[in-house]
Subunit: 230 residues, 2 copies
């Protein structure tokens, strides 16, 4: 008899299911600039962080509909993108700018991406627990010797809200998004300490932490972690 999936597995599957269900409104939200924090702060912040490393090649993990790949390609960078959601990858391919493939994080961790790149970037795309750990652990092997792994994520202290400051699954929300979105993905909250421990355990050493500020609040809109091979 097959073992029933545990809570972690159910939630990891729930993340991918939610993105399948919301692929179309997501493409529309990104392409029409509906997400204010991205427009105001975090899009420019991740582009700056990647450009600061002057990579010739980038792998965009959880590339979605491909906006970041297009921005980087327009600056002369060779970009590959992977995403588990075929509909998003299809949208990315149609818009061009990179070599986009349907690939799960487990497949990536299993070695299915064949090349080494100067920069691995995850822009708000590490939402799960084991899946995020797989990606960060895989990153080291995907990087050229001086390559850099860059993760933009919710700032732990800002994202914690009223709940205890401890790793754990949280309910998702589409608050502020259009009515076309449904079944928000769950996400796994990590403390700053936990993020730094994850990078260390993956053989990556932190070289920089950035906290792009939201001009509306004067507080960090996100946390950007830059790490290189230890």
């Amino acid at each position: 008899m097959a073992k029933p999936p545990n809570q972690d597995q159910t939630r990891e599957a729930g993340i991918v299911e939610s993105w399948h269900a919301n692929a179309q409104p997501w493409v529309s939200a990104v392409r029409t600039g509906q997400i204010a924090s991205r427009q105001l702060v975090t899009d420019a912040a991740i582009i700056d962080a990647v450009r600061g490393r002057a990579p010739a090649s980038v792998l965009d993990i959880g590339c979605g509909e491909g906006w970041l790949a297009r921005e980087l390609a327009a600056r002369g960078i060779r970009v590959s993108g992977i995403d588990a959601v075929a509909e998003l990858v299809q949208a990315a391919r149609q818009a061009g700018g990179g070599d986009f493939r349907v690939m799960t994080y487990a497949e990536l961790a299993a070695g299915q991406f064949p090349d080494a790149v100067d920069c691995v970037v995850c822009n708000f795309s590490l939402l799960g627990k084991a899946s995020a750990e797989q990606v960060v652990h895989a990153a080291r092997g995907l990087l050229t010797p001086a390559g850099c792994c860059i993760v933009q994520t919710l700032h732990p202290l800002q994202a914690c809200g009223e709940l205890p400051y401890a790793d754990g699954w949280r309910e998702g929300s589409w608050q502020g998004f259009s009515s076309h979105f449904r079944s928000p993905p769950p996400w796994y909250f990590r403390t700053l300490e936990s993020w730094t421990r994850l990078f260390a355990s993956a053989g990556l050493r932190l070289c920089e932490l950035r906290e792009p500020l939201d001009p509306r609040t004067g507080k960090p809109a996100s946390l950007i972690i830059l790490a290189v091979r230890a």
Copy 2:
């Protein structure tokens, strides 16, 4: 004509003046366990962080009345302590446990501490701007090759309060302390990004960030930064 001191210099001087003025109530507050966050969380957290590096020798920068030195000495570690406030150093000497000297951070940065140590520790003792920068920049030269610099400080996101999340001087407060305290020292707020940039600029690389939790709030009581020679 001598140039008048700038605001930074006035505030740096204000920090040391305040500690001179409050040395006696401080000794009493520490030695009678009046500071709840220290009793509940941060004292044990800094001892754990230092012991985790298994140092034979430690330099406690801003040692105050010497409680941390005594705790570490009781665990077989050879401890030196420096502090700019003679009255605190005198109290530390009387209680024993280490080799305590009156020394300003500027004197430390000028090379007046003669030995290399396995661990440099600053426990809530980097309150200023230039003075904190001097200490972190001096730390690299004070460490043995595998030595570790450990700083415990207010957690930037927790300490920010309603003010903008940006480096800058803040008013001090003795809220929660006895009525014997007066003229609280100003302190220089640093973002997490700014702390990590300071370490990098000093030739130190982060190996760990810890966020000891306050059991009363479930939120970080402090931030502990561990860094080694880059």
